[in-house]
Symmetry: C2
Subunit: 322 residues, 2 copies
Amino acid sequence: MDIVADIGGTNARFACYQPDQTGSETGTVSHLTRYACADFPSMADALERYCTAHQITPNRMSLAVAGPVDGQMVNFTNNQWSFVKQEIKSRFQLSSLTIINDFTAQALVPPYLNRQGVTVVREGTPYPDTAVLVLGAGTGLGFAAILPAGGGWCPLETEGGNGLLALRDTDPEGLSDFLRSKEEVVSFESCLSGRGLEYLYQFVAQDKPPLTARQIAETANDNQQARAAIILFFNLLANFIANGILSTGARQGVYISGGIAPKLKAYLPESQFLQRLSEHGAYSDYVGQVPLFLIDEEQAEKAGLLGAGLAMTNPYLAHRRL
Amino acid sequence: MDIVADIGGTNARFACYQPDQTGSETGTVSHLTRYACADFPSMADALERYCTAHQITPNRMSLAVAGPVDGQMVNFTNNQWSFVKQEIKSRFQLSSLTIINDFTAQALVPPYLNRQGVTVVREGTPYPDTAVLVLGAGTGLGFAAILPAGGGWCPLETEGGNGLLALRDTDPEGLSDFLRSKEEVVSFESCLSGRGLEYLYQFVAQDKPPLTARQIAETANDNQQARAAIILFFNLLANFIANGILSTGARQGVYISGGIAPKLKAYLPESQFLQRLSEHGAYSDYVGQVPLFLIDEEQAEKAGLLGAGLAMTNPYLAHRRL
């Protein structure tokens, strides 16, 4: 049995994976189980629990994890877990172990997505020979792309969410300074993540007690300042996406994934999101014609697992397999 | 005879290209001739002049141009030229015409570079399975990468230089506002280009008459403010490179090309360039270990032409050939 996992900063999702025999679709996942990372001292313990609970003896395993995955040792960026690749392979007696970044996994899925689980934010005009970008805010800010290559897809493994924050002149004055009081390096992730949304709310509502990201989302209907924080979130997301399109040349499409954006999508039309993604000086046409999609929450949850499954056989990810 | 060209906003370079028969090196260029774009009403006229001057009947042609190259019509970003691809192919009766972005061409060359024409800015530790980034300031700010793919190199065609400018807290206050008075969209190119260096000087020396980029470079030895503008240039270049590494995952190496950086390189050690590229919060290791190189001026001038030559047979650029 093949096991796949999508492990973020907060949640770890495990599933069984059955590859598609035709190669024309993703495989299928079953026995999807979600654990809170904080409930387990290590990833191996959570994996052990999953296998025991479902009485599974794993054969191949593919783990999509939130953070860089070079070298033998993997440290999660947004939680306390870490592991040594070879130790996992030995402990579970695996025939192969694939370890990729969680957004590399997300990026492998768009060619196979079920359109019913996707909201079209802008139709646009796709350039088929260019990259497809996938990004998303959750505990952190994921960013990855795939490039059409020889009939297949070559993944671009990145940590683009951790680039320095870039603002437009219509962004509020004082925002940079405020964020600098919170974080050592003010990156896009400093705004576009769970904690980022909380910072944005604190910036907007400096006279009020802080709210959690969940509270901000849940109270936005009645709380003007929560709403303002969410609108600011979408404006900054547009800056991030514009820079992402330009720096990867991704004009085949941008897919917004991750846990946060689908929860807030009702407020997107109140922001300057689409306007910012169509006004970029001499590059307005370049940025302004890219199709934009939002992967709905249920499908986003599965996408990381399906991508982990696809990674087991992607020819351009051989260096990620042990 | 194969003709290659590297056409920026200011200069157009033409040469004859002889492919390498082994495929293990670039080909060779000869009859390199440089024209000022402003001296010709169109690119076709400059090409005509080149062919006549050297009594060449072109067979294949590969043109690396500064700007996006999708569609039939190509508009240069930083000069008044434009052309229709099919018209060029017909007018010169070519067996094939390849049109790529000038930095896509630059990006194809690093695997074959002559180390004597390269300054090692930082040795670093390369990750061989990741992208190689090539960027450079000239009339504009070029940015492209190549990804190892199936024994060859898959180019990442981008316009990353036109992303929104991102600043650090150690960058001077008021810089964003100053640049916003100059440009519709404040991009990295607004600082890291010929005009960008001129803006930086005007920002630093607001009490003095403006200088051209050339004057800034030539007077920096005695002119404190020209020197300060150049140091600011390198600091902002480090921001750009850090974001570039993160957004493309390029940890095999970064090559700085283009006309401007080699001319200013004596002042690089006075800037925070290396420090900024080793301090990036949780991503300090990620950014801080990437090998950094500067392509010297003479080799940079040839690199675009060699890359245009390589593009004629790169399997991942089939969509750029007519």
